[in-house]
């Protein structure tokens, strides 16, 4: 990313409008923690930011290996940014393996900070280096800052009473201190965090704080090469209000809770641990004071079944998983569909199929969400586009589930779940209530009485006197709710259930164009977490005078009423997806438009520059 450099008199700091930093090290080096703390400080400085944690599937892969490298990228700026950045301007490499994996991404002329203390012959060998890259000219195209961080950290923590192993572990804090100096970040939030985190191990807290301060002091006092500068990234010009940094998992958890409150229902969350969905279970498990019931089930099937049982008993049952787990839940989702009970299924998508790439992101479960059940069983599907947007999407999922008495698929992904962004904290009171009214009237009741407008069936919960009834997975009579094997009845019920879901199209906003005009040469159509990258690419192309628009779809099923007409207004439709072409198939099938897929299945988010190049290519034809 281009950075404008200009010296700012007093401080000797150069003012730049944005920078991308990537922290990379061994899984055990604490890179995620370093990145998270740097993010917190940056958010408090008033910059706009986006982050991208990228870590291996193994908890502790063998130390020093390339596949054990863990990284955290942050892009922060004085303007509105939407992605974690294509290429880092600064790379922190804590060991040879980190350098080996990530140096190729660094912009030419970018800064690389290397912990030389980890460049032993053995580590070089483990990383697959035949020669020491610090000595053979590998770093020549970059501005390299070679520091024995290990040694300096050990010296810094001397006297705090921690052993050698604990002392060495503080080197990530030393590095954080140096970066805080370079980019003028406040260390105080990190110091406070360390004191709380290690309240019971004050020696460890002291060691980490000492390392943090030492890294900062090193920047202030060491005579660094003249090409290494210190910078100021001014505050971003963003909407006024109260902000916080939020990950998609946090905002989804809060959105589900707010949704339940808006519906006036107890929140029941049944889940089974799976990457990258587990943190949702953790966060909700810490909200018990709000009456949230969380249940760690014995398997994915029990997780969804317990949630369905909860809905049957009058709560909003919610279950969460990632693709392989959703597959296991499928039969129960079918039961929820035919029993016409509300249920929210959160899918934090990851690379697949099967175990695939558990810690990498992908959006390849759209088919599964829209089509992935036996028989005719369409479900509403909603997808969030940014970490903060998971809040709104979660509320919408709950609303649709209870209003239409149906399971709803809520798609997020590994990137949204883990990435953080500044979030203008909404006022919960601004969201409309949608209180559920359970059936209580005995006269004329049967469980499949339908609301004339929505076609939703009546919801009578156990405990209601006089409304005792039986439901289940066997087809029910449209007229009585009792078991029915009548051929015409099954035809009618299948149609009614599908129509009920289609009716939701009247209850969601019409499709808008998020960037550009409503007709033109090229529409770039996306969904989910690719929003930021596509939006930025389209904006850049439009700034360059290209006639391109961005359409972002939030309601995947049913699709907005006007989408077909909207797409017909463009000569070309390009659908970038982090899968092998799924939304594009749906759009082609629904609207017979010649939509073209643009597919990246690398487990990594799109780069803005790649999208920009592809858009230009379509317009040059």
């Amino acid at each position: 990313m281009a950075t404008k450099l200009k010296p700012t008199g007093d401080t000797g700091r150069k003012e730049i409008d944005s920078v991308v930093i990537r922290f990379a090290g061994d899984s055990g080096d604490g890179m995620q923690l370093t990145g998270t703390q740097f993010t917190q400080s940056t958010a408090l400085m008033g910059n706009d930011l986006a982050t991208f944690p990228d870590f291996p599937a193994e908890i502790r892969a063998p130390a020093g290996t390339t596949y054990g490298v863990s990284a955290f990228q942050i892009n922060f700026a004085s303007f509105d940014i939407m992605t974690p950045g294509d290429q880092p301007d600064v790379l922190v490499a804590m060991n040879p393996a980190a350098l080996k994996v990530h140096l190729r991404d660094l912009t030419l002329g970018g800064t690389v900070i290397v912990n030389t203390g980890a460049f032993s012959d053995r580590n070089l060998q483990k990383a697959g280096y035949a020669a020491n890259p610090l000595e053979d000219g590998t770093l020549e195209p970059y501005r390299a800052l070679l520091i024995d961080i290990s040694k300096l950290t050990l010296a810094a923590v001397e006297g705090t009473g921690v052993n050698q192993k604990e002392a060495l572990r503080a080197k990530n804090l030393w590095t954080l201190g140096l970066l805080c100096w370079m980019y003028d970040r406040d260390r105080q939030p990190t110091i406070e965090w360390l004191k709380t985190r290690f309240a019971k191990q004050p020696d460890i807290a002291d060691a980490n704080i000492a390392a943090l301060n030492a890294g900062h002091a090193y920047g202030e006092t060491a005579e660094l090469p003249s090409e290494i500068s210190t910078y100021i990234v001014p505050k971003a010009d963003v909407a006024p209000g109260t902000y916080r940094a939020v990950t998609g998992t946090e905002s989804a958890a809060w959105g589900l809770l707010v949704g339940a409150k808006k519906a006036g229902l107890k929140l029941f969350f049944g889940s089974y641990p799976i990457t990258p969905a587990s943190p949702l279970l953790h966060i909700l498990s810490n909200l018990r004071q709000y009456g949230v019931v969380t249940f760690q089930a014995e398997d994915e099937i029990s997780a969804v079944c317990s949630a369905l049982g909860a809905s049957y008993a009058g709560a909003i049952g919610i279950t969460s998983s990632s693709g392989p787990g959703i597959a296991l839940k499928t039969e129960a989702i079918g039961l929820a569909f035919i029993a016409e009970l509300p249920l929210v299924i959160v899918n934090s998508q990851r690379g697949g199929p099967s175990t695939g790439l558990p810690t990498k992101t992908e959006q390849s479960d759209l088919y599964q969400a829209v089509f992935g059940r036996n028989a005719d069983s369409p479900l509403p599907v909603v997808a969030s586009c940014t970490p903060g947007d998971c809040f709104d999407t979660a509320i919408e999922a709950v609303r649709l589930a209870v209003k239409y008495m149906t399971p709803v698929m809520f798609l997020t992904d590994g990137y949204l779940a883990n990435a953080a962004e500044p979030w203008l904290i909404p006022n919960v009171d601004d969201y409309a209530e949608f209180p559920v009214e359970f059936a209580t009237k005995v006269e004329g009741f049967h469980p499949y009485l339908r609301d004339e407008k929505t076609l939703a069936r009546s919801w009578a919960v156990p405990g209601t006197p006089g409304l005792e009834h039986r439901i289940g997975g066997i087809e029910k009579s449209y007229d009585t709710g009792n078991i029915s094997y009548e051929p015409d009845n099954h035809h009618k019920m299948t149609k009614v259930r599908a129509q009920k879901v289609l009716n939701i199209a009247d209850d969601i906003p019409l499709q808008t164009v998020s960037e550009g005009k409503e007709t033109g040469k090229l529409a770039v159509v996306g969904w989910g977490s690719t929003f930021g990258a596509i939006e930025q690419a389209v904006r850049r192309c439009r700034t360059a005078g290209l006639e391109v628009s961005h359409i972002h779809i939030r309601h995947i099923w049913p699709l907005p009423r006007n989408l077909g007409d909207l797409l017909a207004g463009f000569d070309k439709v390009l659908v970038p997806e982090m899968n092998n072409g799924q939304l594009v198939t749906l759009l082609r099938a629904q609207y017979l438009v010649p939509a073209e897929g643009l597919n990246q299945i690398s487990g990594l988010p799109f780069k803005v520059s790649d999208l920009e190049r592809e858009i230009r290519a379509r317009l040059e034809d």
Partner: protein, 343 residues
């Protein structure tokens, strides 16, 4: 829908739904539904607060025939669905119904976990040692050598003992009864209902079409007295048509033997007294097989825990609310580090 007028005493028939029962004529399930309805009347259970949850199979049609709340779900998953129901509304009285295929094969995992969690449910397993609804294949409780459409030369896999399995899962209430034993069934079901925690009842049920007579060696009029022993807490384990057979521990061994009082110097004082809180004893009693041993019936094991699962969950919820009062949701969203951008 039947409208209840509470002051009037409900009769067994008041617990029967208006749906035509569709089991095969002579099926043991008829007797069970009758026994359950009779039990409901005896307890004067509130139909509005009673829920029957079933999986798939012949047994799983059960809820349709009860004038209570009912949910006929999917194969093997009734315990998991019932868990969600009970955790959402602990006021409900939740009964789980399934067969041997449902609860020990496809849903064996859920049976294990519902039992070990000890959530307050009554789990009734109708064991007929065969798959009925899918037309007669061998089940996980079929004896070795069972000839069926899927095992034409006889099954070669060893069966699981339902009661022993549940005891192994740390089950705290284990009972067994024969479908036709209408005298014992209400007693056992009332005890199951009274037990706080997961109560597991194995009901030996005759499948008249695919496995007729599988239990006839100890359930007929002429052999039941010799073929069964009724477990009653604090009473000697005596059985037999002459009331002179009994169980005792083989001296010096962890092994039960059948003895006759009055023979070989055996007196009533030698007979094992049933202790329903003794898990190793329950394992030995549950494992007894004909023809060398009587089949143990009644409450084999009952050792309630201080709290059931859902009680513990709600205790934590109350404790959490006390420790940090929930307050406004807006406050939750603003907890931790925030910053303000001025207009």
């Amino acid at each position: 829908m039947n409208v209840q007028s509470p002051p009037e005493k409900l009769k067994p028939a008041d617990y029967a739904s208006d749906q035509e029962v569709r089991w095969c004529p002579g099926c043991g399930d008829y007797a069970i539904v009758k026994g359950v309805q009779r039990t409901m009347a005896e307890m004067q259970a509130d139909p509005a607060k009673t829920v029957f949850i079933s999986g798939i199979g012949c047994a799983a049609r059960f809820p349709y025939y009860m004038a209570t709340y009912g949910f006929h779900t999917i194969h093997g998953r009734a315990p998991a669905i019932a868990t969600g129901v009970k955790l959402t509304n602990p006021e409900l009285d939740v009964w789980v119904i399934g067969g041997d295929g449902d609860m020990l094969s496809i849903g064996g995992n859920h049976t294990m976990h519902v039992v070990r969690r000890n959530i307050d449910l009554q789990v009734l397993l109708f064991n007929n040692e065969i798959y009925g609804l899918t037309k007669g294949q061998a089940s996980p409780t079929s004896k070795v050598g069972t000839r069926s459409p899927s095992t034409p030369m006889g099954s070669v896999d060893a069966p699981v003992s339902a009661c022993n399995f549940v005891l192994g899962c740390n089950g705290r209430f284990v009972a067994r009864v024969v479908d036709t034993d209408q005298k014992l069934m209400p007693d056992v079901l009332i005890r199951a209902k009274a037990h706080k925690g997961t109560s597991f009842v194995e009901i030996l049920q005759n499948c008249i079409v695919y496995n007729d007579g599988v239990y006839s060696g100890f359930t007929e009029k002429n052999n039941s007295a010799d073929g069964q022993v009724k477990c009653e807490h604090g009473k000697p384990l005596i059985f037999g048509k002459d009331g002179n057979k009994g169980l005792r521990m083989k001296p010096g061994k962890m092994e039960i033997e059948v003895v006759t009082i009055g023979e070989d110097g055996v007196t009533e004082g030698d007979i094992l007294v049933h202790d329903e809180t003794n898990r190793p004893l329950a394992q030995l009693l549950s494992a007894m097989q004909p023809p060398h041993f009587p089949v143990a019936m009644g409450v084999i094991f009952c050792d309630p825990a201080a709290t059931s699962y859902e009680e513990a969950v709600y205790e934590q919820i109350a404790k959490a609310a006390e420790a940090s009062p929930p307050g406004e949701l807006n406050a939750l969203l603003r907890r931790g580090r925030t910053w303000t951008v001025d207009a």
